[in-house]
């Protein structure tokens, strides 16, 4: 079991480092952007609220959602391990398959949590630079993203293991879409959690009202998934 956790951590270490660097980079960009707004001709640009909000809230959104992004790229790194015939090592060793699944959960949870902690450290700096107060309400953004990340991980891994790569990608992309739209909506509006439910409801309405569009989306997702090839499976 420890061996498996170690393996997954080794595989995702670069994703974690890249996650840290990206969050720090985005924060730096936000600082330069916001501080630049206060000098020279940029003052005029600040009056263009739409552009200001786009960059400012976009950076906040990215920093908050980085946990999810890094968790998903980490999960892909672990998946790559299976494409590397890892299953042959696993199934020929005295390791129970459920331990492998459990270790993936632990590592995905760790990555999501580490990234969210880092995000919650970086986020106040952006708010402070933007002369906005940072309180529990703002912290909740990271918290919701962390929870969304956990939910995605919780549902994604079994889907990934049980279903074929194509089905897994379709389900996961849909879920990711729901969460990203919900988070974005929540960040862009002030109505908080209600917006998330409205957005999810809107998403389902969209599926209901635009069935053909969804079918096209599913087909495109299936084809893109087939690029990654059929996963080697036990009980073939």
């Amino acid at each position: 079991m420890l061996g498996l956790i170690y393996k997954d951590l080794v595989l995702v270490r670069k994703n974690i480092i890249m996650g840290f660097l990206t969050i720090a980079g985005v924060a730096l960009f936000a600082l330069i952007f916001i501080l630049g707004m206060n000098v020279g001709n940029f003052q005029e640009l600040k009056e263009e609220e739409f552009i200001y909000n786009l960059f400012y809230k976009g950076c906040i959104l990215y920093v908050c959602g980085a946990g999810i992004t890094v968790s998903l790229t980490s999960a892909s790194a672990i998946d790559q391990d299976h494409k590397a015939e890892w299953y042959k090592v696993l199934y020929s060793s005295p390791i129970n398959i459920w331990k492998e699944i459990f270790s993936r959960y632990i590592v995905a949870f760790l990555v999501n949590t580490i990234m969210s902690i880092f995000s919650s450290i970086i986020l106040p700096i952006i708010y402070m630079a933007g002369n906005e107060s940072y309180g529990f309400k703002e912290f909740k953004t990271v918290l919701y993203c962390w929870m969304a990340g956990l939910l995605i991980i919780l549902i994604r891994l079994p889907i990934d293991i049980i279903f074929s790569a194509k089905v897994s990608v379709v389900i996961c992309c849909s879920m990711l879409g729901v969460f990203l739209v919900a988070i974005m909506a929540w960040l862009m509006h002030e109505e908080n959690i209600e917006v998330i439910f409205e957005t999810i409801k809107g998403w389902f309405d969209l599926i209901y009202n635009h069935g053909a569009l969804v079918v096209i989306g599913v087909v495109i997702a299936s084809f893109s998934a087939s690029y990654f090839g059929k996963r080697n499976r036990r009980w073939a």
Binding site: M1, L2, G3, L4, I5, Y6, K7, V10, L11, Q80, D81, A84, E85, W86, Y87, K88, V89, L90, Y91, S92, S93, P94, I95, N96, R234, W235, A236
Partner: protein, 295 residues
């Protein structure tokens, strides 16, 4: 039931069946004697990998009994795997891993993992420890797999085409390691290959599979002594009993026929030449005979 290392056969397979679309293992039965090297030969797609995966419970079989060290391979799966070293034709480790990572991963997976032995093997096999697995050559990757299979004090080595695609020098090195492994007669090796010269060199027993059926399962020397090539003219061949012939081919000199009882044929067909033959020739005759029989 615990494992019994003193059993006569390290592996016993009875009536193993497994069907895929277009291929099936049909009542496969054979034994792998303890303390010996057993070679598993057959063409590509004959059923070697399916049989090996069935032994390791990597496939759901359609029926049959498999015992490893006297214990059922399904009921005692984890005990068995603790004592089995496995080598496949492809390395299973992620290309980004280094040997230090593999050591730590496997230390957490096998109770008896021995890092000291592992690094000794790496040194002995000349494997660089700083490189990533993905940067290893195929020969190096196979050597790494063998080092990992030997580093948890396994009693049985099961290998699927361990020497496939390797140059003769590396193959030779690897075969030497297997020979060394079975020196104390406490260890057993079961390896599949379609490189028959390798098996002629190291195997004590041969199991020959063709199109999912076991055609031969015997001591290598007995196979070599028993079989022979009967060389004769077409007219002489017409007098040979069908039951004595396993397969035949026409040559510029007449007919060459594989016979299952060399001594008997030498006495029975005195005017004809009956010679010893190689394992490769025997396999070719069996395969051609089966193919012709189906055509």
């Amino acid at each position: 039931m615990s494992l019994d290392y003193s059993v006569e056969n390290a592996i016993e397979i009875k009536n193993l069946n497994k069907s895929y679309k277009g291929f099936s293992l049909k009542d496969v039965s054979f034994n792998v004697p303890s303390g010996q090297v057993t070679g598993f030969i057959g063409q590509n797609g004959a059923g070697k990998s399916t049989t090996i995966k069935s032994i390791l419970n990597m496939l759901k079989t359609d029926g049959g009994d498999i015992k490893v060290f006297g214990a059922d391979n399904l009921k005692n799966e984890f005990d068995i795997k603790e004592n089995v070293g496995v080598v496949f034709d492809d390395i299973g480790f992620h290309p980004n891993l280094k040997v230090k990572h593999i050591d730590k991963i496997l230390k957490g997976m096998y109770k008896n993992w021995d890092s000291k032995v592992f690094f000794e093997y790496l040194e002995k096999l000349g494997l660089p420890t700083k490189k990533k697995v993905g940067d290893y050559s195929r020969g190096m990757q196979m050597k790494l797999q063998i080092a990992t299979a030997l580093s948890h004090h396994a009693k049985l080595l099961i290998m699927d085409e361990p020497t496939g695609g390797l140059d003769p020098i590396v193959r030779n090195e690897i075969l030497d390691i297997f020979m060394e492994f079975i020196q104390d007669s406490e260890h057993t090796v079961f390896l599949s290959s379609h490189i028959i010269t390798d098996l002629e060199r190291i195997a004590d027993n041969i199991v020959f599979i063709h199109k999912g059926k076991i055609l031969l399962s015997e001591d290598k020397d007995t196979i070599a002594e028993r079989h022979g090539i009967l060389k004769c003219s077409k007219e002489q061949f017409a007098t040979v009993d069908d039951e004595d012939v396993i397969g035949y081919r026409k040559s510029s000199f007449g007919i060459e026929a594989l016979v299952g009882d060399q001594e008997k044929c030498k006495t029975k067909y005195k005017g004809m030449l009956c010679e010893k033959t190689s394992l490769e020739e025997i396999m070719l005759f069996y395969v051609n005979n089966t193919n012709n029989g189906e055509n």
